[in-house]
């Protein structure tokens, strides 16, 4: 069945959208406009933004485990001076510490050295020598705040805007609002470099209450990122085509009786997409044709950076092919150090984790720039929270949701700037803070979407990506 006959089938079948759209009401969907009826036929059809977009693709680099940005970007001479002493009470006003380590003495790694880079004079520590070369491409957000003191909860908030499961992730909202720019690939892809799916799970790329078709599609790391993409041995192409056609017909007949079953609609879409992906996806994720210089730049020739470098190189290839939202979650450095979560031995953890990401992210920024893609791509360094200036277990740091650094680079960004700050020792943000909702609102703005008007009616309530919050951080925008 071709596209035309499929549409005809849907319109004429028991799903009855054609007739129902005339009356304007469909049980389970409520009143429909002509546009929303069209969406039911092709929910991933490209949709116009609210205003001209600066960004076509977002690469969302989730630094899993929460790095200490005090040891990467947020240089605090006062912390160096006060290391080993109790934290002055005045710095703790208004914060509720429910983290497991309690509040101990201030801690500073004696090996840490900071230098300013670029015309912007942005501070970088010795842990990020390669990223430091791109200082002038970045806009730092040094007053990031969030809620929660445990990883899974704050990761959920980072990705969905809420601490409870059930809301759509940012990528799903974008997929819903803009549709797909490449019908042969998923428009929302999740890449991870660990040897298993990130511990916080697929709820972080879920469609939540949006139709399931908008959820993210996870690609595995390694040489075969998409399982079962090849036709099974012994099955002729014509046999597979016939089998899929039969399956689609059966699914469409069932969908006609249950038009509210978005899981089934998503499954029909997934089968169609999978069929098209058999032809296009292997090439999209195949790194073998990349030049030796590119492989070297991304760190593919070094075991310490290979896994993360591969997923970032894949991210660039997907960017070239119009994937709208690429969510990248880092794995660990080795069997012992599985994330940035340095409750102890911060020096060892961060040396290895920084090495894991520093060269590949620097290569990604350089590569995007060289190919002209940075003009339409937004790269975001994000984490679920930061880490405390006080120590834990002697040489680690605890979780800090009150003040930490994230950055954005690329299209529409006021590059080489810093927004916000933390206090003199890096406990809390000062002045205007940037919560996850604000970051989401800003990303949506760059994609041409007004977060207040990106809405979906769920259980009788108009929901939006930023819940009831969100403020576009205009100082970050060019």
């Amino acid at each position: 069945m071709n596209d035309k006959s499929r549409r005809e089938f849907l319109l004429k079948s028991g799903m009855g959208l054609g007739g129902a759209a005339l009356s304007g009401f469909i049980p389970g969907f409520g009143y429909l406009t002509a546009a929303s009826a069209a969406e039911l036929i092709d929910p991933l059809a490209p949709k116009a933004p609210h205003f001209p977009a600066k960004v076509k693709t977002v690469i969302w680099l989730h630094q899993n485990g929460a790095p200490s940005t005090l040891d990467l970007y947020d240089y605090k001479p006062e912390l160096v001076k006060l290391a080993g002493k109790p934290i002055p009470e005045s710095f703790l006003k208004g914060i509720k510490t429910s983290t497991q380590g309690g509040i101990t003495k201030l801690f500073n790694s004696p090996k840490r050295q900071f230098k300013q880079y670029g015309e912007s004079g942005a501070w970088f520590s010795d842990l990020l020598p390669n990223l430091a070369q791109h200082a002038d491409k970045m806009a730092f957000i040094k007053s990031s705040v969030t809620v929660g003191a445990t990883h899974d909860i704050s990761i959920l908030k980072l990705n969905t805007g809420d601490v409870n499961p059930g809301r759509p992730s940012l990528g799903a909202w974008i997929n819903y609002a803009l549709g797909s720019a490449n019908k042969d690939l998923p428009s929302y892809v999740v890449l991870y470099s660990g040897d298993r799916e990130p511990s916080a799970g697929s709820v972080n790329w879920s469609a939540g209450f949006l139709p399931a078709v908008y959820q993210g599609v996870a690609f595995r790391p390694g040489a075969s990122p998409i399982l079962h993409l090849d036709r099974p041995g012994g099955l002729a192409a014509s046999e597979q085509k016939n089998a899929l056609a039969l399956l689609k017909n059966l699914n469409l007949k069932r969908a006609a009786y249950y038009p509210e079953d978005t899981e089934l609609q998503a499954r029909i879409r997934a089968y169609e997409l999978a069929e098209r992906m058999q032809a296009t996806a292997p090439e999209a994720v195949d790194l073998s044709k990349e030049s030796e210089a590119t492989r070297e730049a991304y760190g593919l020739n070094d075991e310490a950076t290979k896994a993360y470098g591969e997923v970032l190189l894949r991210a660039r290839r997907l960017t070239e092919r119009g994937v709208r939202f690429i969510q990248v979650v880092n794995g660990g450095a080795d069997n012992e150090i599985t994330s940035w979560d340095a409750h102890n031995s911060l020096e060892e953890n961060h040396s290895k984790m920084a090495k894991l990401v520093d060269k590949p992210i620097a290569a990604l920024l350089a590569d995007l720039k060289e190919r002209g893609l940075l003009e339409t791509t937004l790269v975001v360094w994000a984490s679920e929270f930061g880490r405390t200036p006080w120590g834990e277990s002697g040489d680690g740091r605890d979780h800090n949701p009150w003040g930490y650094t994230q950055w954005v680079a690329g299209a529409g960004i006021k590059a080489g700037t810093t927004f916000g700050q933390t206090d003199e020792i890096g406990v809390q943000s000062q002045g205007q803070t940037v919560d996850t909702y604000d970051l989401h609102a800003t990303v949506l703005q760059l994609l041409g979407l007004n977060h207040l008007k990106t809405t979906f009616l769920h259980d009788g309530r108009s929901e939006r990506p930023t819940v009831v919050y969100g403020e576009v951080i205009k100082d970050l925008l060019a």
């Binding site: 207040l452 309530r461 108009s462 939006r464 819940v467 009831v468 919050y469």
Partner: protein, 127 residues
């Protein structure tokens, strides 16, 4: 109708109105406010002027209670200020909704939510 439902819900949530009359603002009261705030945001979004008017009116009244609660505490000047700001924002939302300016009302509702969050950071016992 919506206004009636809100009033009944408030009546039940506030323990027949006795608590707030004594300047007590408890967890149930705040939960009701949070729900009301979410509903208000939704009704502004779908441009339901009648429901949004009723909810903004209720919010403004409730912030009078919150303000009284913080005044009574005597050591919570910032709480008094936040509740005053919130009361004024509720009134501004009401004005925008009545004028049919839902875009401005949504901006104001977002500012109101941010003010709530700032106050909760200091005074809410748990997140």
């Amino acid at each position: 109708m919506v206004s009636k439902i809100i009033k009944i819900a408030l009546y039940l949530a506030l323990g027949f109105g006795a608590l707030t009359a004594q300047g007590e603002v408890d967890e149930d009261f705040m939960t009701t406010m949070e729900d009301l705030n979410k509903s208000l945001s939704s009704n502004i979004s779908v441009k339901d002027g009648k429901a949004a008017t009723a909810e903004a009116t209720e919010m403004e009244k409730m912030f009078v209670e919150v303000e009284a609660f913080f005044v009574k505490k005597t050591d919570a000047a910032d709480g008094v200020k936040w509740s005053q700001d919130s009361r004024e924002l509720s009134a501004a939302i009401l004005k925008s909704v009545v004028a049919g300016d839902f875009d401005t009302a949504q901006q104001q509702a977002t500012s109101l939510s941010k003010t709530c969050k700032a106050c909760h950071k200091i005074y809410k016992k748990k997140d």
